[in-house]
């Protein structure tokens, strides 16, 4: 069974022919397109390491069939920086030690970017923790993660306000 698929990944349009309908977005990115920044943790939607943006929304790529997402616009951790410049959420994770081993970090950062776009958390750390609860960190870097997301959100809001002023 061959399934033709057209995806925009990090701004680049890709025409893909799937030979197996079982391929998830996660396996497509990692095993077939060499985009290994997105991590496979549990592969069952429990850890959030595989978080990506699909049409602007954060989802677990391990529980998404590639075949079902024909036409989608996908952003992975490889696509958030601009040239040599880090995304504000990436920079804030470094500034606040938002990781130890780093395995969950791409998923945390993608989830943080998605969360900021959703605009539901405000500047309340408790809400940020609630909104980020789909991303587990076995090293327990949660305090740094929360601080990083809060700071990035505040920087991004300030930049946006400057631009619209």
């Amino acid at each position: 069974m061959n399934l033709p698929l057209s995806l925009t990944i990090n701004g680049v349009r890709r025409e893909i022919v799937l030979d197996d309908p079982r391929v998830t977005l996660l396996d497509l990115l990692r095993e077939r397109l060499d985009l290994t920044g997105t991590k496979k943790g549990c592969d069952r939607g429990q850890c959030g390491a595989c978080t990506i943006l699909v049409d602007g929304r954060r989802i677990n790529s391990c529980l998404a069939l590639a075949a079902s997402h024909d036409g989608a616009e996908i952003v992975t951790i490889e696509g958030v920086g601009r040239g040599g410049e880090l995304h504000p959420v990436q920079a804030a994770f470094i500034a606040h030690d938002g990781f130890q081993c780093g395995f969950c970090t791409p998923g945390q950062i993608m989830s943080g970017i998605g969360m900021i776009q959703e605009g539901q958390a405000g500047d309340d750390p408790e809400r940020v923790r609630e909104c980020m609860s789909g991303n587990l960190c076995r090293c327990g870097a949660y305090q740094g993660i929360t601080e990083a997301v809060l700071e990035a959100q505040s920087n991004m809001t300030a930049t946006k306000q400057r631009r619209s002023a």
Binding site: L3, T24, G45, G48, T51, A64, Q120, E130, S133, G134
Partner: protein
């Protein structure tokens, strides 16, 4: 994962034709189904992808005051619809207390209704499970069963229904619209999920090929907006299924409870409407003594199915807690920590 045929029909009629074939399963976002397929629990030979079916992703206000929610509306979109959260605060709170933000962004209304139990023995293909394999027996009966059912269970199955969303929906008389080979029909949500009895493998009232196309909340559900909550006890603060939960709504007039709605989650194989408790509350003054009596009535028929007698007491306390918190309800768009029993609601920052 077993291999399957993948089809993506363009119309509801085509979907039903494809979904009526033996071994076919409908695929919405797949947040539950793909997980089950990876574990070898579900083994469909064909997936009928319904995500592109036209017209099923709308929220419509009908002339009779009811609200029609298309089966493909995403959980997050529904919960964050400000008007929805204002009119049905307990339903929005239940949605926001379920799963994680990533899963809520993907998961659909129809898929949530079709969610399977989270019983670990159902998920473990190496365990005996009458739901998965009729007649195989139930390893949960003598296993780790502290989270299992205390109401409506049978010797054949003691699993619980995992949905948060369905609990307030049952309390507020939601109706399911179904398209099937025989055309369109409706079913009260309360009648969609079945208790296990001697056929635990028959989880819902749906027939082969039936497709849920919409969910309807009747106009009266809005009458409870001023006093409605969903409260949920979890083993961690966020991103966990309910140990027990309660959806409660009161209509209070002249200091008396005019009408009450109550449903429990995590206690049975279906969202559990507690009508006896509603009777106790109706006409009474809203005070703790009356709430306690209602809680006793709600759990009067409960019995442990294993190491879970604590859930009977816990469920009663959660009913009292939910009812006690009701007068504190203010209209909200986004609860700070949805459904936590220890936190009153706070209004969203302006």
């Amino acid at each position: 994962m077993m291999n399957f045929d993948y089809v993506r029909p363009a119309s509801v009629a085509d979907a039903i034709a494809a979904g009526s074939e033996k071994g076919a399963s409908y695929l919405a976002s797949g947040t539950n189904l793909l997980d089950l397929m990876k574990g070898g629990v579900s083994r469909p030979s064909r997936l009928v992808d319904v995500t592109r079916l036209p017209g099923l992703d709308r929220i419509e206000h009908l002339p009779d005051g009811s609200l029609r929610i298309g089966a493909l509306v995403r959980n997050a979109d529904l919960a964050h619809d400000t008007e929805f959260a204002r009119s049905y605060p307990a339903v929005a709170e239940a949605l926001l207390s379920g799963a994680s933000a990533q899963l809520r962004n993907a998961a659909t209304v129809g898929g949530n209704l079709m969610q399977r139990t989270r019983c670990a023995y159902f998920y473990d293909a190496g365990s005996a499970c009458n739901r998965r394999w009729p007649g195989a027996g139930c390893d949960a009966l003598k296993g780790e069963n502290r989270l299992h059912a205390v109401l409506g269970w049978s010797e054949g199955c003691i699993a619980t229904h995992p949905s948060d969303f369905c609990v307030p929906l049952v309390a507020f008389d939601a109706v399911v619209e179904i398209e099937g080979k025989g055309g369109r029909r409706e079913l009260p949500l309360e009648a969609l999920h079945r208790l296990p009895g001697d056929a635990p493998e028959r989880e819902t009232a749906l027939e082969r090929g039936d497709l849920i196309v919409a969910l309807r909340l009747p106009a009266e559900a809005k009458d409870f907006a001023g006093h409605a909550r969903y409260i949920k006890v979890r083993e961690r603060t966020s991103y966990a299924f309910a140990v027990v939960s309660a959806a409660a709504g009161l209509r209070i007039e002249d200091g008396k409870i005019r009408e009450a709605r109550l449903a429990l989650g995590g206690v049975a194989a279906k969202p559990w409407r507690a009508r006896d408790a509603e009777q106790v509350l109706a006409g009474a003054a809203p005070d703790v003594a009356c709430y306690r009596e209602a809680a006793r009535a709600a759990l009067a028929d409960a019995k442990p199915s294993g190491d879970n007698a604590f859930k009977i007491e816990l469920a009663q306390r959660i009913v009292v807690r939910a009812l006690t918190l009701l007068p504190q309800v203010r209209r909200i768009a986004f609860p700070r920590c949805p459904a936590l029993p220890s936190r009153p609601l706070q209004e969203r920052n302006a």
